[in-house]
Symmetry: C2
Subunit: 242 residues, 2 copies
Amino acid sequence: MRSLSAVSDAELELLRSLAERRERFVAGEELVSEGDMSIRPRFILSGWACRQRVLPDGRRQIFSFLLPGDGLGLDRRPGPELSSVVALTALETADATPVLNAVQAGHAPGLARALAAIEPQEQKLLLDHMVRLGRQTAYERVAHFLLELQRRLEVAGLGDNQRFPLPLTQEIMADALGLSIVHVNRTLQQLRRERLLELRSGVTILLQREQLADIADYRAPPVRPGAPLSAARSDLEDSAQY
Amino acid sequence: MRSLSAVSDAELELLRSLAERRERFVAGEELVSEGDMSIRPRFILSGWACRQRVLPDGRRQIFSFLLPGDGLGLDRRPGPELSSVVALTALETADATPVLNAVQAGHAPGLARALAAIEPQEQKLLLDHMVRLGRQTAYERVAHFLLELQRRLEVAGLGDNQRFPLPLTQEIMADALGLSIVHVNRTLQQLRRERLLELRSGVTILLQREQLADIADYRAPPVRPGAPLSAARSDLEDSAQY
DNA sequence: CGTTGTGTTGAGCCGAATCAACCCCGGTGG
DNA sequence: CCACCGGGGTTGATTCGGCTCAACACAACG
């Protein structure tokens, strides 16, 4: 939240109080099904999830990844859900209803600003993903994707400017990037062989971020100044591992 | 609008009054640049446009098409534009500001409902497009894409259940579908050879809609009952050709 | 100690891109 | 009136990125 808007102490207190009503999911569990008519608004406290759609023949397209600090169902629009949401790791969520109520009542202008900033952010991620899928090579896609994750996780206080956790199988990356598992594997190997990154047991290190950004035409979004992020996050999610 | 929500006579009158302040664009003209901080909200009265992004090396990805009756900039969110909008044909637009004002003032509940329904619709189109790009073959992509256009144009009163105008070059379809021009050409030829569709001078006829839908796993969205659409549209856009 | 999921590697194939012509048609200007 | 030109569509030859199929290594786990 702090990465999106200044937030008052009272608002932070409200956010902390959410942690009381946690829900837990195991990897593979479905939080939202496509077509659901209304879902509980939540924040992700720890773990990763994704939005996806599955074709009748089993092909799958992953639209986006939900990381700790991200929300789902925050817009409270009535219509049917357009994609399902699935836990990729063990997952902890908090009910976001109190926040939405406070915002609606006008009691939390800082959080209101933050929530308003979320949608454009998600939209941007979606469009970037679409460019990857439609007009980039496998090599560019993987590089771009990892740079995006690095950025998001750093903002979330879960990584630094080159190292971050990556609890995704190559199958999941393949389904996100529109590639086959085998080809994701080979592309990652090429990037490692070229000493652009390292990948070991769920931890990724971008050795040459500049060069990767060049390869993938990755334009880093401007950093919001003056928000002590890692501190803000550990407030809320001290038990988060990724 | 009527396809999204019941609209009162007074509201229709308001819509009609918009046609007074038209703007015209020629094909290729840019209505919105990526990064623009605020744009005039508009409805498209006639002609086609698209949202797109261009990579530094010239590759282009088209995200969506804007058809007569569609709007842009209706959300009035402050942030920078995430994609540019370019006219694909000669284009007429109307300033949508009066509608947004009326809605904001609470004077147009029907239009408010309609506007609220627009975003999810666009989101759905975006996700469908992403599935095409990431997980469908060229053959499936083209079929799915044409079915989607058929549906949208029929709802807009600009086509019937198998025939509709298609003022797009194969280059534009290629940039939307993530394919090369040559391959779009060959795929269209295959579809014609198989007597699934006809394509002549800007008019498309889907000869076997069912079979096409089967090929592309196209799920037609449910039709809103009881909205006399073609009538509604010719009210506002009697000069529209496509 | 099997089993299962994930990563890795090789061989061969195929869908789609690229490159390069060529055609047709509608301007447009001499 | 006609030669020229440029954009869009079409076609063939060739290349290549990425997929499929298949096998195997390895670790976690029951």
